[in-house]
Symmetry: C2
Amino acid sequence: MDNFSYQSPTRYIFGRGVENQTGSLTASMGCKKVLIVYGQGSAIRSGLLHRVKVSLHEAGIAYVELPGIKPNPTDGPVRIGIELCRAVGVDGLIAVGGGSVIDTAKAIAAGVLYEGDFWDFYSGKAVVQQALPVGVVLTIPAAGSEGSGNSVITNEANRQKISIRTDTALRPKFAVMNPELTLTLPLDQTAAGVADMMAHIMERYFSPTADVETTDRISEGLLMAIIHEAKRIVADPSNYEARANIMWSGTLAHNGICGCGRREDWSSHGLEHVLSALYGVAHGAGLAVVFPAYMTYVTAKNPVKIAQFGRRVFGVVEPDDTVAALEGIKCLREFFTHIGLPLTLGQLGITEPDFDKFVADFHRDKGTPWGAYYPLYPADTEAIYRLML
Amino acid sequence: MDNFSYQSPTRYIFGRGVENQTGSLTASMGCKKVLIVYGQGSAIRSGLLHRVKVSLHEAGIAYVELPGIKPNPTDGPVRIGIELCRAVGVDGLIAVGGGSVIDTAKAIAAGVLYEGDFWDFYSGKAVVQQALPVGVVLTIPAAGSEGSGNSVITNEANRQKISIRTDTALRPKFAVMNPELTLTLPLDQTAAGVADMMAHIMERYFSPTADVETTDRISEGLLMAIIHEAKRIVADPSNYEARANIMWSGTLAHNGICGCGRREDWSSHGLEHVLSALYGVAHGAGLAVVFPAYMTYVTAKNPVKIAQFGRRVFGVVEPDDTVAALEGIKCLREFFTHIGLPLTLGQLGITEPDFDKFVADFHRDKGTPWGAYYPLYPADTEAIYRLML
């Protein structure tokens, strides 16, 4: 086990009706005027945004709004939000939505207190030292941004999709999580979210660090719970209990608990970010295509952890590591198919893949080599992309 | 799943040599003069206390000391500590030790800022609203107090052992956790700690709340990791990796993550507190006697969760719930015996048990009925105590 430092200070308020506590929670983070960031209108149509505003109003908190955040969020709205916050004198942000909305709110929260251009944080020119407090009303269980210190933004000019991670500076102060809000989430979006949260665990699980039994068992337990509950949602999308377990699992998948004491990999996210930056594919759907390909490739290099995944998560009984690993990948593919996820570039709508560009973009964004479980050089990267055909 | 609120803001600094960060961590919680609370001298003999003092000194932090805290800590030293803090003008506490030391430091931290007698918090007359910041240098993985908002103190006058739980007021600001410090921990103390951390998980796991798959899987994963690593320590007490996994598991067992979304039981802790208050037995050893007896009794009333424990934690393959439950309890007893724990009152040194007094004390402290998985009335309580013969 490696030395580590871990702190996850976010307050989670979970269950039916909890969005009505948004106002008092916002007041408890010391705010009087906030920017509400949200997406493309579903929070308006469902009445959620109205309830959040009523709750803020009852707590005596003023607000301005930044609507219209799209999936794979870009730098443009971040700059608009920063200007708005400065002009109005905002002292906190409330993100009402999923990962794209939350990541945008985090970027604004850090950018408002920074003299230079906020993209400096994403290009590596600067490190986030401080940010306005951010509260979250979560509507999509997937990105885990409600409990993480991370933010992912795509630069519109060069299509670079960059993820940054802070220890605590960008962790939300609170996350209001009502599973009822997810009961009407379409199955394709639910499935993409499931792939995303599973990926957050697996990026940490496929690690070269030995002797992390505690962290391994937590990771495997979360994966088993997610697989079990996702199948229940496919059978009955209005199952509150299944939705609740998925929502909570998505937070724990990415709040860092699955990474304690080990090096993390993050190759697959890098491989997927190239695809979603170029084609705008749903991040989770892209991950469903990337992960089995990645796992298949590295099984030939180092099957140990892929085999453990097969045995412990899917109950594979095979003495040989390579066989157990491949059997586990087969189970993973079957599960992804069962919940309606794509498995190939073609199913993602990428019919004429430019592998040279994929490889070049991956190593431009990540460097060479990249990855902890098995360090990827361009030949490895190309081979993995070709396994997605 | 039940609605819940969860926040675990403690910063964990984990690994070799991390005690040397105590000074900078103490400074980061805004302290200039602290009370160091510790036990009966092992921290002096090992040189740990010296290293902590050097670290504090280098960070410009003054300190006074409260040594001599014993297992099953009592109210006397808490009152001395409160007076000392007030006289010297302390602005924080550093607990160097295990649960007894940490719980004493927490009681002092709350008592210093309270006008009345600190026991009011334990007798239920008052609720902890604020406390001085507490930092921890952990030496014994067991109680989980380094990450919990709990504190257990025994009243010397009437031998009442009372546990209080706060949401965040009594959670340490940081916990410095170096598994090297536990390499020389005697096996009996190690085993008692293992029983304690397993009990913290099982008190939450034996719940009447259905549909908590995520929390169940985390709990089961932690139990499996603890069992696996405890056996490795018995085989080689100097195994750093096994000690590290046990140490981290002990924190997660009690920081609340295993309770999210469900009612918790806590019958067995109540049953044990009666024994340790009357006889001063080691809490963990007492729990090893109590738990199998409790589980056996409630299997006849409601075997569902005990059976799931047997199947998922010990891999029992039995279709019948009662059979699976009893087989799981058998495995648990065998594991406790393997690591050197007692299984009967006699093995605890309690040769002439006064069952009437046990039952009366239990219901005096806890009320009637007590317990969530199966509510205990005096007849149930006596039957469970008799199963410990």
